[in-house]
């Protein structure tokens, strides 16, 4: 690594995350001077312009790619129009042990004097909670589901070809043309406004890039170092060109993307920030041309990519407000770089740049951006093995995705074959058609809580309230089928509540929080003269994420075996044991834990329940219409919500103790998979991955397992087999339990320890102790 890059990397690693009040103050100033009008989109665009025109321009010494969202690296803005932090929230963020974000007195003062008085009661979060029904609120506080958009804007957006091929001036031309053609056909008022808003936003970003050029010119004046001077000159000309014009060089392409990335995460705080997607594909034409004509060296391409990587790491996730910390508590903002896969015409997409980027990932070893490899049957083994050798170094990246399955999923959802091949996975594991789709995640869904309520006839033992439908209790049902029917009734009931709530929320975003800037880049928002949040994109999907498949499978398997088939355990004594969290019922718990069929062992007796629950969940959600004109779909991933959902779910028939984490993704319950990784994969492949928009499977391996070329070959073939079975994703945590225990006892000595949590990597030290324990408990598959 170049010395200067090493320094920038170190600065990024050492920078302390802070809250910056800059954005919140500017947005408050703007709306104080310009009272809310009916032309919401235009006003949002003007506010965006106000932000870009007035924010501090931060360019660090020796940077190659410029643009910071805040006034300094890791100075993180807030979005009071989305969710308003209270003074107490700020205190919690500042003081909390894990993932703290420092808040200095001036920020607190700004909040107290200006920001809170203005936004109190006006945030999107306030609007959402006042729009939700009583039953929604009840289910929400019982922990049956979470709501993604209560603190962040809809997003989950990934750049496609358009972003890399088009300049903002081209888009302004397109807007003019759309206006003309639409006018001829008659156009509604909101479309005029949207087009105007888009123009304002595009122009604002062109001007913003110029401000960077001006700042660089100032630095050039004061610079005496010749090599740096020439770099600065190049950077000035790059910033004068992009994003107004389409990029023509490797450097311009990266800077072009980064300006737009900055704009999108400044406009609002969309989930999973923003994401360059298929980076090796987008950059390949530039790279190939310049390497061939000698204008770019491999070393310089590497340095530019490394500088680009550091930019991501400088931008932690916007802080949440107080109480929901457990739900997803991390600095990571989930940009997931995709490598490999297929080209638009269906050929092997792995190229020389793919391998170069893998080297960058290995050398940078940063939490952000996260990275993954797309594996199609057409990609070579060398590609998989090169990626495995990075995974082996134990920071959880890259993870492995099945391109052929992703394409099938997208085709099933009605995408064109080209749009499907240009797709991939973002966030944790979520499938999307990059650059053409708005696929928002609506919330995690706690399958186990629904089973718990069913066992108690719709009553929540934690809140001591009747929350669900009145169905017969476990002690009143005679057959397993009757129990399952009651479960399905409750499931359908809560999913209907969730979906109704989400459609209301989508509507609130469409009306109050259009995103004209982001809409410029996602096809066909401009052509439709319709905002991204209004359903302007070519495809619109809303996802609901099922959580705890392993736990619920094991509970159902135990119930069937002991209560209904063998009658060895009586319903009332089981309920009693659960109520007492198995205290005084230890032998019963041992029986449930050690002698019941468990998911993840390729055991049909257990796995049938997983398939059944999956199908019930699918049936309840898949294809339901959404406000944005798309449909709801499912995926199976938890991020860290399996910890939160566990904390609201009492002891269950799988022998899990009260408030302990649930199983993660489609992985088995921690420690329940005793027949090795192939058995886990065989179980996991029994659900129909093609009907989801992503599933998450985490396998922890001892480092010894990656020791030899032979072992790498075997893992490579194992990935191939799982993907032949249509598995969507697999990731490896390479670390032994002993190391983790040491890290827990002596965190200082293990500050660099990165582990795969659930679809993303995080510093082990930053995880809560319950999540740490869970990772330790997950079976370390040793070779036998």
């Amino acid at each position: 690594m170049d010395k200067r890059i090493a320094k920038l990397r170190e600065n990024s690693l050492l920078a302390i995350p802070t809250i910056s009040a800059e954005r919140a103050l500017l947005i408050t100033e703007y709306f104080t001077a310009n009272p809310f009008s009916h032309a919401v989109a235009v006003q949002r665009a003007e506010a965006f312009k106000y932000l870009l025109d007035n924010k501090h321009i931060c360019i660090q010494e020796n940077e190659l790619i410029v643009g910071e969202r805040g006034p300094a690296p890791k100075a993180t803005p807030t979005y009071p129009e989305i969710s308003l932090h209270s003074l107490e929230d700020l205190e919690i963020l500042d003081q909390r042990e894990k993932v703290s974000i420092k808040v200095d007195q001036s920020v607190k003062n700004a909040y107290q004097d200006k920001i809170i008085p203005f936004w109190q009661g006006l945030s999107q979060r306030d609007k959402i909670f006042s729009a939700m029904t009583h039953s929604w609120k009840q289910a929400y506080s019982a922990g049956i589901f979470t709501e993604f958009q209560e603190q962040r804007a809809p997003g989950h957006t990934v750049a496609g070809k358009r972003l890399f091929n088009t300049g903002l001036l081209d888009i302004l031309e397109e807007i003019k043309w759309v206006r003309k053609t639409k006018a001829a056909r008659g156009i509604v008022q909101s479309s005029w406004e949207e087009l105007e808003a888009m123009e304002i936003a595009a122009q604002a970003m062109i001007d913003h890039a110029k401000r960077h050029a001006d700042e660089l010119r100032k630095q050039l004046k004061n610079c005496s170092d010749e090599p740096r001077k020439s770099e600065l000159r190049t950077m000035i000309s790059v910033c004068e060109k992009v994003p107004a014009h389409a990029p023509q060089s490797f450097h311009e392409a990266l800077q072009h993307y980064w300006f737009i990335h900055m704009g999108i995460i400044t406009e609002l705080n969309p989930w999973d920030s923003f994401n360059p997607g298929r980076l090796d594909q987008h950059l390949w034409p530039f790279y190939q041309r310049e390497i061939a004509d000698g204008s770019l060296s491999k070393a310089h391409a590497t340095a530019l990519l490394q500088a680009f990587w550091i930019k991501f790491n400088n931008h932690p996730a916007p802080p949440k407000v107080g109480v929901t910390a457990l739900e997803s508590n991390t600095y990571t903002d989930f940009a997931l770089i995709n490598l490999g896969g297929l080209t638009e015409s269906g050929a092997d997409a792995v190229n020389e740049l793919t391998y170069l980027i893998l080297d960058v990932i290995k050398e940078m070893r940063l939490l952000q951006p996260s990275s993954m490899v797309q594996v199609s049957k057409k990609n070579p083994d060398l590609f998989i093995k090169s990626a495995l050798k990075i995974t082996k170094t134990g920071f959880g990246q890259p993870s492995f995705f099945n391109t052929d399955a992703i394409i099938q999923q997208l085709l099933r959802q009605g995408k064109s074959i080209e749009d499907a091949r240009n797709g991939g996975a973002s966030g944790c594991v979520e499938t999307g058609a990059f650059g053409t789709e708005a696929y928002t995640l609506s919330g995690y869904f706690n399958l186990n809580k629904v089973l718990e309520l069913t066992l108690h006839g719709g009553f929540d033992p934690r809140l001591k309230q009747q929350i669900g439908l009145k169905t017969p209790k476990l002690s009143a049902v005679k057959t397993f089928e009757e129990l399952y029917a009651a479960f399905e009734q409750q499931l359908n009931h809560f999913i209907a509540i969730k979906i109704e709530g989400n459609n209301r929320i989508e509507e609130l975003f469409a009306h109050h929080m259009p995103v004209p800037f982001m809409s410029l880049f996602i096809e066909d928002c401009v052509a439709n003269a319709k905002d991204y949040n209004e359903g302007g994109a070519r495809y619109n999907t809303s996802y609901l994420q099922g959580v705890g498949l392993g736990s619920i499978t094991d509970s159902l398997a135990a119930l069937k075996k002991w209560v209904f088939d063998s009658h060895e355990i009586d319903a009332n004594s089981l309920l009693d044991a659960m109520q007492n969290n198995f205290t005084g019922h230890e032998p019963l718990r041992a029986q449930l834990v050690f002698h019941s069929p468990k998911w993840g062992n390729n055991d049909a007796e257990a796995d049938q329940h997983a398939v059944r629950v999956f199908n019930s969940f699918l049936k309840a959600v898949d294809g339901k219409p959404s406000y944005r004109g798309g449909v709801f779909r499912i995926n199976m991933l938890p991020t860290t919500s399996h910890v939160y959902f566990g904390s609201v779910t009492a002891a269950m028939p799988d022998g899990r103790e009260a408030w302990k984490p649930l199983s993660e993704g489609i992985s088995p319950v921690q420690g329940a998979d005793i027949h090795g990784p192939v058995a886990v994969l065989q179980s996991a492949a029994k659900i129909d991955h093609i009907k989801t928009g992503g599933t998450l499977l985490n396998q922890k391996f001892a480092p010894e397992f990656f020791d030899s070329e032979e072992a790498i070959d075997k893992l490579c073939s194992m990935i191939r087999s799982y993907f032949r079975l249509d598995g969507h994703h697999i990731q490896f945590n390479v670390v032994d339990a002993q190391t983790l225990r040491k890290a827990q006892k002596n965190p200082e000595a293990y500050r660099d320890l990165i582990v795969r949590v659930a679809g993303y990597s995080d510093y082990f030290n930053d995880l809560g102790s319950d999540l740490q324990n869970e990772i330790i408990a997950r079976t370390a598959h040793k070779s036998s």
Binding site: S717, M718, S784
Partner: protein
């Protein structure tokens, strides 16, 4: 047809090429003093007490070591991971104990596997009559053969049986055109004498078809197993085989096969 088996392991990666399912047959005619698998020695199903823990709750449970399984069950298990064998070049391995003690079952299982185009391997001490050995091994596409002690008296002393049957079976095997993996246990002051190493070297240096040699250093993992079975383990306190010596053994055998590895 039934067999007594003490474990079936999927994702077994140290018993031949690729990803394999290994069947561990119960019963062994030898009693090697260093044996890592004492539960494999007796041919009968044994019931032992195992201490378990769930949180702070400690209890002991009777578990049986060994299970009588039908040929159909075994074939179903062999077929279950077929896709994984295909992609990795793996298959099934019959191991033990000594699988040849239940050779009829082994033959039937390997026949069925071969019909399904599943690669078959057998891991044997070679202690069986020539007839049984030849009949059974004919169905395996790969043989893992243990060579412990070349001098018969020493073999008798440390494993309770002389080695001439083993050597004559090995001689026959050398004439066959079958891929071989040689496995040599490294036990300090027992198998690692210069004389023994030289004798093994002399024996296998003329053998064709050796794909690899696995050197298996002694380790202490079996102590608890002996205790559970209420058996005494005379090597209870023997330290793990020193890494430097494993390395020396590796050097010694390095030229005899394309792959020579420590610990498989």
């Amino acid at each position: 047809m039934k067999a007594i088996i003490f474990d079936i392991r999927s994702f077994s990666v140290h018993d031949g090429p690729g990803i394999r399912t290994s069947f561990f047959f119960k019963g062994c005619p030898l009693r090697c003093s260093w044996c890592h698998n004492p539960e494999s020695q007796s041919a009968a199903i044994e019931v032992i007490c195992r201490n378990k823990q769930l949180g702070s709750f400690k209890f002991s449970e009777k578990v049986s070591v060994g299970e009588s399984i039908s040929l159909e069950t075994a074939i179903a298990r062999a077929k279950a991971d077929k896709l994984f064998y295909e992609d990795s070049g793996g298959g099934i391995t019959l191991s033990g104990g000594e699988p040849l003690l239940q050779h009829q079952f082994c033959i039937a299982l390997m026949k069925a596997a071969n019909q399904e185009d599943i690669h078959t391997a057998i891991d044997t001490s070679g202690f069986a009559t020539q007839e049984v050995f030849q009949q059974t091994v004919a169905h395996a596409r790969l043989v893992l053969f243990d060579l412990k002690l070349m001098q018969s008296e020493l073999h008798q002393h440390h494993t309770t049986k002389p080695n001439h049957l083993i050597l004559s079976n090995f001689n026959w095997l050398q004439q066959q055109n079958k891929p071989l993996i040689i496995r040599i246990p490294l036990v300090e002051n027992i198998t690692d004498s210069v004389a023994n190493f030289e004798a093994i070297r002399a024996l296998i240096s003329t053998t064709r078809n050796i794909e690899r040699i696995d050197l298996l250093p002694y380790h202490q993992s079996a102590n608890q197993k002996y205790t559970n079975l209420s058996k005494t383990y005379i090597h209870q306190n023997m330290p793990a085989y020193p890494a430097e010596k494993s390395e020396m053994a590796l050097q010694f055998f390095a030229d005899l096969a394309p792959i020579v590895s420590i610990g498989a």
